[in-house]
């Protein structure tokens, strides 16, 4: 609403090109088989396919029937499997290298929700090359990139895979549309995706689950007897204006919008026939469309309000904020305990446990055991395996004996001023691989002082996406690195984040100075392991402040529930 938009922000490149590329390749493959054919497709791929080529397109290329294949164990080394089944000889395989699905003007997804678990938990690197190829495709269409920054092991490997592909392929000199690239591993910042989302788009995702840029609003929202599928992107003018807003601001905005709409409708009363004619032909359709969208979003907001303004949610948020700030930890633990005992929600309980562990550098052995035991009693013994997974990933760990670092740290932090505390923390942090959240928070000012009132109407920093309680670490890192043009001065931070940072100048050959600077202000951020809508909102905010545009490329859109569900071992 009242954002000071810098006028000189560059235009975003046109990503519909990627869709066209994917579609053309699919059609090419279909045409390889002359004549009529049926298409069998895995259920998970239906939505992405629909974004690329709809049924009419498929029909035009002689696809007769579409069959959905329900989820089966993923085919590794397909050919071997087919061979074992003895049908290899009857099958011809082609690869449709469909890497990138543009979800919106500034969001591109690889649609690989399994990436997070496969790479970070199972250590399976098969998607790394896919990420590299995706980057390669973007580079060859919108590059050449001049600078690449990154942090995390996977980022580094993806970067290397991309470089290799660049060297193998043909090189063409062209005008760059995207100047800089930032690669980041999801496990660099696991706190942010585990926080409750309170920005409109994130909240819609948390509650209704957005799938491939499309949400299904239940009858409760549509105030009719059927669900409606709605595309959520910048084409939806109403949504575009509220998607990045803190939820508390959305209602006010929507009612203002409703009033404006009414005024626009009311104009009719004083019109003569000619004016009425132009009104009907030019404005009415737009107004009606807006009206429809507006009532949908109001419905959605109401439904969310019902859920989220309840006492429980407020208390949940309070606990989260306490965890982020590091205050009243004991109270938080009893809250979590009660949460588990009352079986409020398995995933939510787990989320709070993980947040506690991440912010406190692990749980005290006593707490760890008792909370785990209670969790198992509540939600079943099978979560023994889930805990084993969470531990392996570092999401939920036990403090090793003699490592009561946090307690000491926080005491020290309260006693001495920030500067010395930082140094002390550095000394400690080299001890083990830990989340170091507190120390990072202090170093990067992630948690604003809580005594000041935070005006959500006029956000002053990215913390607004979490009601002013926390600036997402991932986005803060991006801001810092872009500001410093590298990692200089962030040595302690990267050490705490377990390193693997890099900044490479690839060398650009743009001659036109103006265009060059324009592309320099378009920054592609690639999240390996998924990113949340809140993070995207934060980056959009940062972009507006700095007069730059961010393009988010992610292996998938994630949120706390998706992330934790991927940690479960489905034994069914």
């Amino acid at each position: 609403m009242a954002h000071s938009v810098r006028r000189d922000a560059p235009e975003l490149p046109d990503f519909s090109l990627l869709k066209r590329l994917a579609r053309d390749q699919l059609i090419y493959l279909l045409e390889q088989l002359p004549g009529r054919k049926d298409l069998f497709i895995e259920a998970d791929l239906m939505s992405p396919l629909d974004r690329i080529a709809n049924v009419t397109t498929l029909k035009q290329h002689d696809v007769d029937k579409l069959y959905k294949v329900e989820h089966k164990p993923i085919f590794y080394a397909c050919e071997n499997l087919l061979e074992e089944q003895g049908i290899f000889g009857d099958v011809t395989t082609d690869e449709w290298s469909f890497y990138l699905l543009p979800l919106d003007d500034d969001i591109i997804s690889l649609e690989l929700p399994e990436f997070f678990r496969d790479y970070f938990l199972e250590g399976d690197q098969r998607w790394v090359r896919t990420a590299g190829s995706a980057l390669h495709l973007l580079h060859s269409v919108y590059g050449p990139f001049s600078k690449v920054y990154g942090i995390g092991r996977c980022s580094k490997m993806a970067y290397e895979s991309w470089r290799e592909q660049v060297e193998e392929g043909e090189q063409r000199a062209r005008q760059a549309e995207i100047g800089n690239v930032f690669l980041i591993d999801r496990d660099v910042d696991l706190v942010t995706p585990l926080c409750s989302q309170v920005v409109y788009e994130g909240l819609v995702d948390d509650i209704f689950r957005i799938k491939c840029g499309c949400v299904e609003f239940c009858p409760d929202v549509t105030s009719s007897d059927k669900s409606i599928k709605v595309m959520l992107n910048s084409q939806d003018k109403v949504f575009n204006e509220i998607r990045n807003e803190h939820f508390s601001q959305v209602f006010g905005f929507l009612s203002q919008k409703a009033r404006n709409l009414q005024t626009a409708y009311d104009k009719r009363s004083g019109m003569n026939i000619k004016q009425m004619k132009t009104f009907v032909s030019e404005e009415l359709k737009g107004l009606k469309q807006e009206h429809r969208l507006l009532s949908l979003h109001i419905g959605a907001s109401e439904s969310m309000m019902k859920k989220k303004t309840k006492q429980d949610f407020q208390e949940l948020l309070k606990t989260e904020h306490s965890l982020l700030e590091g205050f009243e930890i004991r109270e938080c633990i009893s809250y979590i305990e009660e949460h588990i005992n009352r079986q409020v929600s398995m995933v939510e309980s787990m989320r709070l446990l993980c947040l506690l562990s991440l912010t406190e550098n692990g749980l005290l052995p006593k707490d760890y055991r008792s909370l785990k035991a209670q969790f198992l009693q509540s939600y079943g013994i099978e979560h023994l395996l889930t805990f084993s997974n969470l531990k392996q990933l570092g999401l939920l760990v036990e403090q090793q004996p003699g490592e009561t670092l946090t307690v000491m740290e926080s005491r020290v932090g309260k006693l001495v001023n920030d500067k010395t505390a930082g140094k002390l923390t550095d000394a400690f942090s080299s001890l083990a691989k830990k989340s170091n959240f507190r120390a990072l928070g202090r170093r990067l000012n992630l948690v604003p002082k809580s005594d000041e009132e935070y005006d959500l109407r006029v956000p002053r920093d990215m913390a607004y996406i979490f009601s002013g309680a926390y600036i997402p670490l991932s986005c803060k890192l991006i801001e810092q690195v872009l500001e410093r043009d590298g990692w200089t001065g962030l040595e302690e931070v990267t050490r705490m984040l377990n390193g693997h940072e890099f900044a490479v100048t690839a060398g650009s050959n743009g001659s036109d100075a103006r265009v060059k600077t324009d592309s320099q202000r378009i920054i592609l951020v690639m999240f390996l392991g998924g990113c949340t809508f809140s993070e995207i909102s934060a980056l959009r905010f940062l972009g507006r402040e700095k007069g730059i545009k961010f393009i988010v490329v992610t292996t998938a859109i994630t949120n706390s529930a998706r992330l934790l569900e991927s940690m479960l071992d489905n034994h069914a």
Binding site: P73, A77, E337, R342, Q343, L376, G380, S388
Partner: protein, 862 residues
């Protein structure tokens, strides 16, 4: 120039022309007499096998391969079995189909490549007839055996033999047959005297003639009785009933059209699906033809077929007239995309419909724009003012653009360079008077013709037409030149057309290198050197392919040397595997970062090595190990266990058993798996997990007992769910027992019991419970639970027991504003007063509002 129409013959609206391509360079004593001949389309090579005069003759026949111009490329005595048929593949390989069903494959230069068989059945029954055909899947072979059975292979590079169903009543070979490719299916259409059949993978369908309604009705009934036959009736429409036996048939280049020749001398032309008739012509020749082929071109004016007898060549189209040529020597017809080539002992000719652009320009007294432009240019060259007159006439009709286009197009269709030049000059002349005529068509036509003329050259001998060239693409032409080892010409063409290095020069050089490594007399060192020097600077060379070729020729050392030049590690892997350098292959695959490749190597190693060595190898390669583990997780659970066992990873083994226990339906088996898990967890010193698993076993046993005794269905529930189920079913004693045995925290137990009682509306028991001892969760939950069940009356009972801090909340929960206000004011808490205030309505609770506001201001002062 004036005689350009001298060889044109009219047929209906269209003209046909026969032009000489080459005077053959071969010297054959008896021409093509008694020869098996196969000539590849697109101006491909010609193979000849002279059949011995007497079958018993001991003299070996000679197999000879020539270019289209008759230049000898290979010649060797045939030492294998009797050959039934020769044919060419799409990549210019020669197929020799023997009587015993063996198919031998030779390259252009007569080098043996490989062989395959058309099935065991054939060895006894012998091949009677065979055909080689082309489809989008590649080159196929079809045979009919002495037992009258057909066998098909759609793609010889991916051999799958399909034996077609029996044809009722067929003895020996059918009168004639063709292979059709329709809807991704390959079928055989055959005639046995009067009857026509369509044979596909599953059925043999008789084709019924439309005019005989009664007959087809009868057929319907018969077919309805035999479920094996698929009842799809197709008929060649309009084929006269009295037209008796079909003695020859031909299918067009594109498989779209079909021609049938009957013994009454009638020719029927129609679509290959037998649905439409194009025309029917009475040729008045009753002898069965030697050969019949379609003669069409893209955008043909009429469908036409060329029929050949011993001394006669006949072109039949839509009209009743035909064109007849006398043949003075034994010849063979080759169907092309845009005409028919006729190869004889001394001449090689092309017969085609005259393209309309050429007709417009050269037809006598034509006033088409192109014709006028050509005339104008002629006058211009003579420096005659008439040039201006003609030009003006074209310009007045504003068809100069059209005129130029026609001349450019016609140039493409002309074979004589002189005619091409004349037309292009005229076009160029016309272009001068146009301001914005796009140059591309003219320029690219000049380029194309230069390329075409150079390959039509006698020494190269590829008589491609422009239409064929456009269809086959430059890439394929380059390939063909490369197969003929015409490397310099290929490179020159690539450079001339500015083909990107990848598709052009680099590819040619790669082929050259592949050929070079086969030169057995040269030592490894010098070949490797020569290859690297020549290929050094070319972009995108795949050294691994060259190395693979060297390995195929048995030169492993050379292959390894060449592989070192390969910059992409991934490309080295397949060959390394083939050469049994599997360890190296594994590290190269990992280096490439391509996980598919790693999988390939891992699966290979798994089959190649014994298990112990395999695991050891993986242990040294963590990337491969984790990939393999992933694979096992989904496909081979048992191997996964072995892997963990080898690594003494007890934690993972424990997890493995726990996971396995869920899949187990039987309780005993489940318990024993869990016991194994406990043992492993103990070994892993994970006491927590061991204990949790033991408790699960305890719980399972408890649940089973209760299920047996009380008929509950508790098995598999979590502890909490079990407790809840027990409490709601009034098994308080058993619940107590569980609560004690499993040391359930008091708070949890209270919550559980409280909710269970409320859900049952058991208020009496709840009150007893509340009084049993001091509640560890306080009494606010009692209030809330009652309210949730809509029982305010019961809720009120507990409000008084709530701690002072929660009083306000409790009062609000039951909707008692007064009480809440009372409590808030008593506690003098500003925040709580505000909470109550926000719930008051300004109309009904005015007095209360005032009191609260007063209290708030005093509280604020403090």
């Amino acid at each position: 120039m004036a005689f350009i129409t001298a060889n044109w013959n009219p047929l209906g609206e269209a003209f046909y022309r026969k032009i000489e391509l080459y005077e053959m360079g071969w010297s054959l004593r008896d021409g093509l007499k008694e020869c098996l001949v196969a000539a590849a389309p697109y101006g491909g090579p010609i193979a000849l096998l002279r059949q011995p005069q007497r079958p018993s003759s001991s003299a070996r026949p000679q197999l000879e391969i020539y270019s289209s111009s008759g230049a000898n490329m290979a010649s060797f005595p045939w030492k294998s079995g009797p050959v039934r048929q020769l044919g060419w593949t799409v990549c210019d390989d020669l197929l020799c189909i023997q009587e015993d069903g063996t198919v031998l494959i030779y390259d252009l230069f007569g080098a043996f490549k490989r062989h395959f068989s058309m099935g065991n059945e054939v060895v006894q029954n012998q091949v009677l007839e065979a055909k080689v055909f082309h489809s989008p899947y590649g080159t196929g072979v079809a045979i009919v055996t002495g037992a009258s059975r057909f066998t098909l292979a759609t793609n010889i590079d991916d051999l799958k033999l399909r034996r077609l169903p029996e044809v009722p009543g067929l003895q020996g070979a059918p009168s004639c047959w063709v292979v059709l490719t329709q809807d991704r299916q390959t079928k055989v259409l055959l005639a046995n005297g009067v009857d026509l059949y369509i044979l596909d993978n599953t059925s043999c369908t008789p084709v019924v003639r439309q005019t005989q309604t009664t007959y087809s009705l009868l057929c319907l009934i018969i077919l309805a009785l035999s479920p094996l036959t698929v009842c799809v009736f197709q008929t060649p429409p309009g084929l006269s009933p009295q037209a008796c036996s079909i003695v020859n048939m031909a299918v067009s280049f594109s498989y779209k059209y079909l021609a049938l020749f009957t013994d009454s001398g009638h020719l029927w032309m129609g679509s290959a699906n037998l649905k439409d008739k194009l025309s029917e012509v009475d040729t008045k020749v009753r002898t069965p033809p030697k050969q019949m082929v379609w003669c069409r071109r893209p955008k043909s004016q009429q469908p036409s077929v060329v029929i050949m007898w011993d001394r006669l060549l006949l072109v039949a189209g839509e009209c009743t007239d035909t064109i007849q040529y006398t043949l003075d020597e034994e010849s063979v017809c080759v169907a092309e995309l845009d005409g028919v080539r006729i190869i004889g002992g001394s001449r090689h000719e092309l017969l085609q419909e005259v393209p309309s652009a050429c007709q417009d320009i050269f037809k006598i007294a034509s006033m088409a724009p192109g014709a006028l432009l050509l005339e104008a240019h002629k006058e211009y060259e003579k420096s005659s003012q008439k040039a201006d007159e003609y030009l003006r006439e074209i310009k007045e009709q504003s068809v100069l653009g059209e005129a130029v286009r026609q001349c450019v197009e016609a140039a493409g269709y002309e074979h004589e360079p002189e005619t091409q030049k004349t037309l292009l000059r005229a076009a160029s002349f016309g272009k001068c008077f146009l301001s914005n005529y796009p140059p591309e068509p003219f320029v690219s036509m000049c380029r194309d013709l230069k390329v075409l003329n150079s390959v039509r050259e006698y020494t190269v001998g590829i008589p491609l037409t422009h239409t064929q060239y456009k269809q086959m693409t430059v890439q394929v032409l380059i390939d063909r030149l490369v197969y003929r080892k015409l490397y310099p010409l290929a490179i020159e063409i690539c450079r001339y057309l500015k083909t990107p290095e990848y598709q052009g020069v680099s590819r040619v050089l790669k082929h050259w290198a592949c050929c070079k490594v086969q030169q057995k007399e040269e030592p490894d060192e010098s070949i490797a050197h020569a290859v690297s020097v020549k290929l050094g600077e070319a972009a995108g060379i795949s050294y691994s392919e060259i190395a693979a070729r060297a390995y195929e020729c048995g030169r492993t050392e050379l292959a390894i040397k060449l592989l070192e030049f390969e910059p992409r590690s991934g490309e080295q892997v397949p060959l390394l595997l083939k050469m049994k350098r599997s360890q190296l292959a594994l590290s190269k695959a990992i280096e490439s970062g391509d996980t598919d490749l790693v999988y390939t190597v891992v699966t290979y190693l798994k089959n190649e090595m014994n298990r112990g060595d395999f695991f050891m190898t993986l242990r040294n390669q963590p990337v491969a190990l984790s990939l393999y583990r992933q694979f096992c997780k989904h496909q081979e659970q048992d191997t996964l266990k072995d892997l963990f066992n080898q690594d003494d990873d007890h934690q993972e083994l424990g997890n493995f058993y726990v996971k396995a226990s869920y899949k187990e339906k039987k309780l005993e088996a489940r318990l024993s798996l869990l016991q194994s898990a406990v043992d492993e967890y103990n070994k892993a010193k994970n006491e927590f997990a061991a204990k949790a698993t033991e408790e699960e076993m305890k719980l399972l046993r408890f649940q089973r007992r209760l299920d047996e005794e009380k008929g509950e269905a508790l098995l598999g529930l979590s502890l909490q769910e079990t407790l809840h189920a027990l409490l709601t079913s009034n098994f308080h004693k058993q619940a107590e027992q569980l609560y004690r045995d499993f040391r359930v925290p008091d708070k949890r137990y209270w919550w559980l019991k409280l909710t269970a009682l409320a859900e049952k509306d058991d208020w009496e028991e709840m009150e007893k419970f509340a009084k049993s001892k001091k509640s560890p969760i306080g009494y606010l939950p009692f209030v809330e639970v009652c309210v949730k069940q809509h029982n305010k009356y019961e809720a009120k009972k507990y409000v008084s027991k709530v701690t002072p801090e929660q009083k306000v909340k409790a009062h609000l929960a039951i909707g008692d504003l007064e009480g809440a206000a009372e409590a808030a004011i008593e506690r003098r808490s500003e925040g709580e007063i505000s909470t109550v205030l926000s719930r008051c309505s300004p109309t009904t609770d005015r007095a209360l509002l005032e009191r609260l506001n007063r209290a708030r201001s005093t509280a604020a002062k403090k």
